[in-house]
Symmetry: C2
Subunit: 305 residues, 2 copies
């Protein structure tokens, strides 16, 4: 598979693959229904809508969406019950992707982590933003700016592995993972640089499969070969990073939003580490971002299949 | 004074003001000398060059720079001695701005903080990046992504006040300071949101002069009015922030570099909290950034005068 370097290539790949089935928890919301309908019309998904059937009908009528194109599961026991029923459709193999509707992220992720009906694996859940930025020849994967607050080293290992998996689904056989810090040197006064050193050395000792990890790297050394040369950094990752691994949620959230609000960009997002791809779009996401997120989930589901 | 909203306006204001005198510590380097000469030619500064006179002559000859336009202080006692002598020229009132040449940042800042000869005030030193970003109607001040690693609340207060000062020099009478976090709600599991709440409430109680502080805000709520409305945030700062205050060095460094490497931008930087403006450019900075940093220092010096 060719490496996917743009969101246009992502959409093409999602359309080329087999159509995937999305189970949507609590879809009774204009923006959620519009996103699902748009992806269905693009031909990349079909969907099972799990929520209050009456409300789903009202929203669909209002938006002119023909519900005969969907399977509706009427669940009136509230959001938690709907989320559990929706996730079970995925864990039982009757859908490929789990998608969030109008419920709190915490309630939604609790369904993912439910021991009986959820999508748990041995790994921690983590979040990745995927960005196409004008002027760069590849996508950037930013992880984790949403789910893990202040991951310890053990959690960071899972986050790296989760992100390597999604890169593989994007046709990147051996993604280059930059463990970001404020500087490119190991500094005992900066804990993120110590974790970075450990992760880099794990990579040297081949403790990661399917990715190359190096750090600490400052953002400029990670993405700009000129900047890396300027600093005299010898590294297979410096200047060529695919994954921008951040030390904590503030750094990741602000980096990802900086790309969205300051750069010419196209963005997708996904929760990783579950048995199936998990879509956690928020109301603030554009329709475009929701579409790319669904397409990313299709790619990951394809890759797992 | 009109609010300065672009780097072009910054240059115009620096040219309009009285010419400032820069004392450069260890200038014997091509890039440093080129930056000083370019600013001198723009008519915004004259400069005193403090370092190894022989080496300064060699660099000047190589670059075709006429040293008769400069005062050269020949100091061959090494970088630390040169830095101390250069900073004393500023603290004694014979120059307006202190600028870093070819020495380590730590050695340079130690001269700033020297008790006898330095530029200490009661406040902590802090760093601000100043960014012009395509599509925004104002400059953004990012603080602190360079000098303070993991500031406590007391230090954060100084950093806010330092940044308000530079905003005043840029004609912003009452800058809007967004204390950034990963979320816009106070979350006991996220320490930066607790400091943000304290700083915001200090602002409510009029404990800050010459600025309005609010937080926590996520980056999107801080810079986009649409995003702030979407979240239903009622705040005089949300969507209108001038200052993007970050919780730690990783967040600030990565945010600032994201603006430089991913957005269409123009950038300056300055160290604040000393008796005079302190320029800490690095080799990785473009010639343009060095010029804007010198012009920013001129503006701050003008404002202090």
């Amino acid at each position: 598979m060719e490496q996917i370097r743009t969101m246009a290539q992502l959409m093409a790949a999602a359309k080329q693959g087999e159509k995937k089935i999305v189970s949507v928890a609590v879809p009774e919301d204009d923006e959620v229904m519009e996103a699902v309908e748009a992806a269905r019309k693009e031909g990349i998904i079909s969907a099972i809508l799990v929520g209050n059937g009456e409300k789903i009908k009202t929203v669909a009528n209002k938006l002119g969406i023909d519900l005969s194109n969907y399977e509706v599961v009427d669940e009136r026991g509230g959001n938690t019950a709907a989320a559990l029923r929706a996730v079970e459709i995925v864990s039982s193999g009757n859908a490929d992707i789990f998608m969030k509707g109008m419920l709190h992220s915490a309630d939604y992720l609790r369904a993912v982590l439910n021991k009986e009906k959820g999508l748990r694996t041995g790994r921690v859940l983590s979040h990745a933003y995927i960005h196409e930025i004008e002027g760069y020849d590849r996508l950037f994967f930013v992880t984790d700016g949403v789910v893990n607050l202040y991951p310890d080293l053990k959690t960071k290992i899972d986050i790296v592995n989760n992100c390597a998996d999604i890169c593989h689904a994007f046709g990147l056989e051996c993604p280059k993972v930059a463990i970001l810090g404020a500087v490119e040197v190991v500094n005992v006064a900066m804990p993120p640089t110590l974790d970075a050193a450990a992760l880099a050395q794990m990579s040297n000792r081949k403790q990661f499969k399917g990715c190359i990890v190096d750090g600490p790297l400052a953002l400029d050394n990670a993405v700009s070969e000129e900047s890396a040369q300027h600093k005299g950094i010898v590294s297979p990752v410096a200047g060529k990073a695919d994954v921008l691994f951040v030390p904590n949620i503030e750094t990741g959230n602000i980096l990802a939003k900086s790309m969205v609000y300051f750069a010419r960009n196209k963005t997708a997002a996904l929760v990783l580490g579950a048995k199936a791809p998990v879509i956690l779009t928020s109301r603030a996401d554009s329709a475009e971002t929701k579409m790319y997120s669904i397409a990313s989930a299709c790619l990951v589901a394809q890759h797992k299949a």
